[in-house]
Subunit: 342 residues, 2 copies
């Protein structure tokens, strides 16, 4: 029997850090019976987050989800720093007690936690760590050994602004056009959606590029056109290393710069202002050039929260500022950006 998922968001379903839950709701071809969120219980997923596009009911407790037939609890929030909180531990233990498997992409490895591991073993359920890295990672082969595929890579001004969604929209648009393409997952949500991938932010830092390179080679075996989701941002005080290692490992032909309209500072570090879009384009291109040149070909603007006029206005201003084609591909379709990157 296929999994019947409950997505746990611990009161944060409306927050951008619940991006794992949002992404699975919108993009994963999986059955989802409930969102577990005490703050938003009683409404539906799409009511609270229209982006989710599913009328999945939101329930208050893990027990409510189990009563609806859920057999897998998915941790649907990517907390800053990625560690397990005490509150979530209680929910996970409740799920295990109800006979549910638990799927998570935290830095805290569930299976390494003695209490959770013992509870899961006694109840006969699985702890699935989406961020678990392959054991045999190493440094990448020479860039010259790069497979002959076209690689489009999303980069951004910050975390949690929609790089994965843009990547999935581009892949879907390409396949609608009859192109053979594949989405390459580099983070826990992408892996939960695609069913394969490596969470490059969880590998040993010396092997970030090696992990990205392996994904490039694995992806090339599937399709000649790859859309590789980006992670972090080159100007992020905590995660910039992941961003650069991924960029240099996946050796893209074209970059799409993702940005949240109106954002002026790093969300997790409000004292760190964002560089201008033009500066970001220059920074990404200069960084790429050191290993393999790639140009930023288009701008993907996340206009969530803006009305349509304001969204179109923000897009026009960003396009004028950078001289690049721009749109919100999640809201207005990915065709324009796809044209720019092919």
């Amino acid at each position: 029997m296929a999994d019947r998922l409950a997505l746990f968001t611990g009161g944060q379903f409306a927050d951008s850090h619940a991006k794992t839950a949002h992404g699975i709701l919108r993009y994963a071809p999986r059955e989802i019976v409930a969102v577990v969120d005490d703050v938003h219980a009683g409404r539906t997923a799409a009511d609270v987050v229209p982006y989710a596009r599913r009328d999945t009911p939101i329930v208050a407790t893990v027990g409510d989800a189990a009563a609806r037939g859920a057999d897998v609890l998915v941790i649907g929030v990517a907390p800053f720093g990625g560690a397990l909180t005490a509150e979530w531990r209680a929910a996970i233990l409740e799920a295990i007690g109800a006979g549910m498997h638990v799927e998570a992409g935290l830095h805290t490895v569930l299976a390494d936690d003695p209490e959770l591991a013992r509870a899961a073993r006694e109840r006969g359920v699985e702890l699935r760590d989406l961020r678990a890295a392959p054991a045999d990672l190493s440094v990448p082969p020479a860039p010259a050994e790069r497979p002959d595929v076209r690689v489009v890579h999303t980069v951004g001004s910050d975390c949690a602004i929609g790089k994965m969604s843009v990547t999935l929209e581009l892949d879907a648009a390409a396949r609608e056009r009859g192109l053979k393409s594949a989405f390459v997952a580099t983070g826990q949500t992408g892996i939960a959606i695609a069913g394969w991938g490596i969470a490059v932010d969880h590998v040993i830092s010396d092997f970030v590029s090696g992990a990205a390179s392996r994904l490039l080679h694995d992806g090339a075996a599937q399709a000649p056109l790859l859309f590789v989701e980006g992670q972090g941002a080159l100007g992020h005080p905590a995660y910039s290393g992941v961003t650069l290692g991924l960029l240099h490992g996946c050796l893209p032909d074209a970059l799409v710069l993702c940005h949240r309209a109106g954002a002026t500072a790093i969300d997790d570090y409000p004292d760190t202002p964002l560089p201008s879009l033009t500066t970001l384009v220059e920074l990404y291109e200069a960084a790429a050039r050191a290993v393999r040149p790639a140009r930023v070909k288009a701008l993907a603007l996340n206009t969530r929260g803006l009305d349509e006029d304001a969204a179109l206005d923000a897009i026009e201003r960003a396009a004028r500022e950078t001289g690049l084609p721009a749109t919100d591909p999640v809201r207005f379709g990915a065709a324009g950006i796809l044209d720019a990157v092919l």
Copy 2:
């Protein structure tokens, strides 16, 4: 009783990848009774590598080193990729059999290797993994919470070109001037020399900046002037993520760009040409600016292998090209660079 070290280099003592052995010989205030290297056996360390500055005898086997009283075998080579080879495994087992502790900074964790762990347990010796990361690492605090110290950070055009040596020479020169300063180790050799530090290339990639930030705070508790050794290079196809995460985590005031005179490509990736020095200066400054601005204040040129005239000529050309003060601080003293970064 203090450790009596044997440095194992597996035939590669003359190679730049034996930088761990070279650095310990030159800078560590530790007793070293032998280098174990079958290719160079019979000579002395300084004979083969003048930089080492010690007349430590080179012997052919671990048994020879044990006969000279060695009680710790240090793996003195940083192999590309950092994994343990079969040949070295044999040497490590021989050392354990002879009752020696083993100290290493490989990505292969010695204590996690069932065969080595069992052998060490049976013989009652320690396996010391210098790259073992603190268990409680996370993301860094806000850059605004940076301690009020002066931070000088060495960056480079490639790996294994002498960033650690430059950092140690600057720290020594500062202390000779009566300044209170500290060397901040970010790699296995630096840790073997300084006795503290974190191998930032071995932490989970999401926590590279967090590890660097912790070193910054720990260093600030020791001295108001910190010299933080760099890792990798922003243009390195495998390690650039480590470089950028470290740069953004240690929040430097001033950068010193290190380069090997005459190098035109990444040593481990000969198809990847090095950017010009001017381009590298721009790249490092643009990358730093996204989180906290820092300028490249001086150039440290590694002129090993050049005669004095050629070295001085290379230094003059590099200074002219970049407009920066330049010297080889290991060969000609670090005073000039120290003036530039204070």
